[in-house]
């Protein structure tokens, strides 16, 4: 009787852990342990064939001489600076326009239509756009031709290729951030807009003085998420350009994949992964502080 009661109490008191346990096992096995291993592998020489041997900072020194490392970093940064601002501004503007002018069926259709790219796989998006952007016979160049413009070598020219990939990324992401922004705008008290209207505020003024300040936490989220996604770009580049021409569209994750699974330098690939991780942590930290401080000073 007593032991049974005790057991029941244990189950009720600490039983919660048993419910958490399955997820804890999976997260430990697939997130925590691998993260520690990435850290360790970074300082080793390691491939599938031979076990890791400690080499200290050798991998990081090697990065400096790696012809792919610099382009990878540079391209990833350019990619981020091209996509994030554009998709943030565009999605905010569209959300604002729909919320303030087209709340009916047309607005719903717009949101639904812009969301279709979001649910499609990056590989599919890359494949379709690659065809559409083909230099010879590609639909985009054909359309330009109708207007008497000369077609461009969208994916074949070093400077243009990365920009093309960025535009496709923006095309894919806008619908996602639009939905987030729209939900945020719906949370703004209507009375604010009504008061502004009484005062004769224009649409632009409402956007500038009510919507944007009110949505600051969401903008923080959209920028941080957008940045982290940009750092992870792989599928799109893999299908559209394969990193080329030359190293024009090689990204961080692509160089991790190449060195880890094509050249089997898994220690070196881990070191690259560690760099990526540090960058992601830094960027989210910086953006958090930036937005946190602005918010503080506004009050």
């Amino acid at each position: 009787m007593k032991t049974r009661e005790k057991r029941k109490k244990l189950w009720q008191g600490n039983g919660g852990f048993l419910y958490v346990l399955p997820s804890l096992l999976l997260i430990t096995l697939f997130y925590l342990i691998p993260l520690v291993m990435t850290g360790y592998f970074s300082f080793t020489d390691y491939s599938v064939l031979k076990p890791p041997t400690w080499t200290g900072l050798e991998n990081f020194k090697k990065m400096l001489g790696d012809p792919f490392f610099r382009p990878a970093i540079r391209n990833t940064i350019i990619y981020t600076f091209l996509t994030v601002p554009l998709q943030t501004v565009l999605s905010l503007w569209i959300a604002h326009a729909i919320a303030s002018r087209f709340r009916g069926r047309f607005g719903r259709f717009l949101k639904s239509a812009l969301f279709v790219p979001v649910i499609s796989s990056m590989v599919l998006v890359g494949t379709v756009w690659k065809f559409m952007l083909a230099t010879r016979g590609g639909i985009i160049n054909n359309v330009l031709g109708w207007f008497g413009m000369e077609g461009l070598n969208w994916l074949g020219e070093s400077n243009l290729a990365l920009v093309s990939v960025c535009m496709v990324a923006v095309w894919k992401n806008v619908g996602y951030f639009l939905v987030i922004y729209y939900a945020g705008i719906m949370d703004i008290p209507v009375s604010l807009f009504e008061a502004a209207e009484v005062d004769g505020a224009t649409g632009w003024q409402k956007l500038r003085y009510i919507t944007i300040p009110y949505l600051k936490p969401i903008t923080y989220l959209v920028i941080t998420l957008g940045t982290i996604w940009s750092f992870q770009v792989f599928d799109l580049v893999y299908t559209m350009t394969g990193g080329g021409p030359g190293t024009a569209t090689v990204t961080m994750v692509m160089s991790i994949y190449q060195s880890g699974f094509k050249q089997y330098q898994m220690g070196y690939a881990s070191a690259l992964s560690l760099v990526l991780f540090v960058l992601v942590v830094l960027v989210s930290g910086v953006q958090k502080r930036l937005f946190g401080r602005e918010e503080g000073s506004a009050k």
Binding site: L35, I218, Q232
Partner: protein, 272 residues
């Protein structure tokens, strides 16, 4: 009463937004049109002549897309069930059956959200190789359980009054039954959103299958599309048929569950 100028502005903005909508949808229309044509040319052709299912027949017959479709489906089903159960159980433990250190552990969970999956790709590969999980359906589904799902469900679970659980307990309901007979049904809306999310991420996943699957027989549909594109780059109709096949299941689901899709996404953003 809106002024004339205001109406004109609305019209112009509406026009611009319509253009965006066309831009968003056009590639998919193009994909579908091309997939029904025997074509090595990329010309856009809206005429209905010469449409046939030949490309689809070819990718099923000669390229075994039926098998890949099956593989993807199995993986997605495992992943969705697994994530719904594991996440809701964990959320229940964290929210309604707090234990010593549960809040600290939850913070560790949240911290893992900042780890991009690509950062741990190499060790993950090493681990599944050691566990002999390469080329299995299970391994494609397992990493889908993450802190996001737990967080999402927990957020929803705060709305359930503790009294409900207490009452069930007093009525003599067994502990585990409280979870699956009372909590789980109440979690339906958030579990639908989570499942939609799991479906999309697993169905569309590329990097992980690319690494974890070396046996062609276990390829997922996305992998198959990538290799089709790589090997038959000029048979546009054929590749577009493959792309259409990758596109349709999420799209059909989206048509039926639009609200849950958008809600799930909006929730993940605003609260995340």
């Amino acid at each position: 009463m809106k002024s004339k100028k205001e109406k004109l502005v609305s019209f112009l903005i509406g026009l611009m937004l319509s253009f965006f909508a066309v831009l968003a949808l056009f590639p998919f229309v193009y994909m579908l049109l091309t997939s029904f044509r025997q074509t090595y040319s990329m010309e856009l052709d809206f005429s209905l002549q010469g449409l046939s299912l030949q490309n689809f027949r070819t990718i099923f017959k000669n390229f075994e897309f039926g098998k890949y479709f099956f593989n993807s489906t199995v993986v997605v089903v495992i992943a969705c069930l697994l994530n719904a159960f594991v996440s809701s159980m964990a959320a229940y433990g964290f929210e309604k059956k707090r234990f010593r250190g549960s809040e600290a552990l939850f913070r560790v969970y949240l911290a893992t959200l900042i780890v991009p999956s690509q950062v741990i790709l190499i060790p993950l590969f090493t681990i599944i190789q050691k566990l002999h999980l390469m080329n299995t359906y299970l391994v494609l589904a397992l990493p889908v359980v993450n802190a996001f799902g737990v967080f999402l469900v927990r957020q929803f679970m705060t709305g359930i009054p503790d009294e409900l659980i207490e009452a069930a307990r007093i009525d003599g309901c067994r502990e585990f039954k409280i979870y699956y007979a009372i909590i789980l049904p109440l979690m339906k809306p958030v579990l639908v959103a989570l499942t939609v999310f799991t479906f999309i991420t697993t169905w569309n996943d590329f990097v992980w299958p690319l690494v974890a699957i070396t046996d062609g027989n276990k390829s997922t549909l996305t992998l198959a599309l990538a290799s089709l594109q790589g090997n038959y780059a000029t048979n546009y109709g054929l590749v577009m048929a493959g792309a259409a096949l990758v596109f349709l299941p999420p799209f059909v689901l989206y048509i039926f569950l639009q609200k849950q899709f958008v809600e799930g996404i909006a929730l993940s953003g605003v609260k995340g």
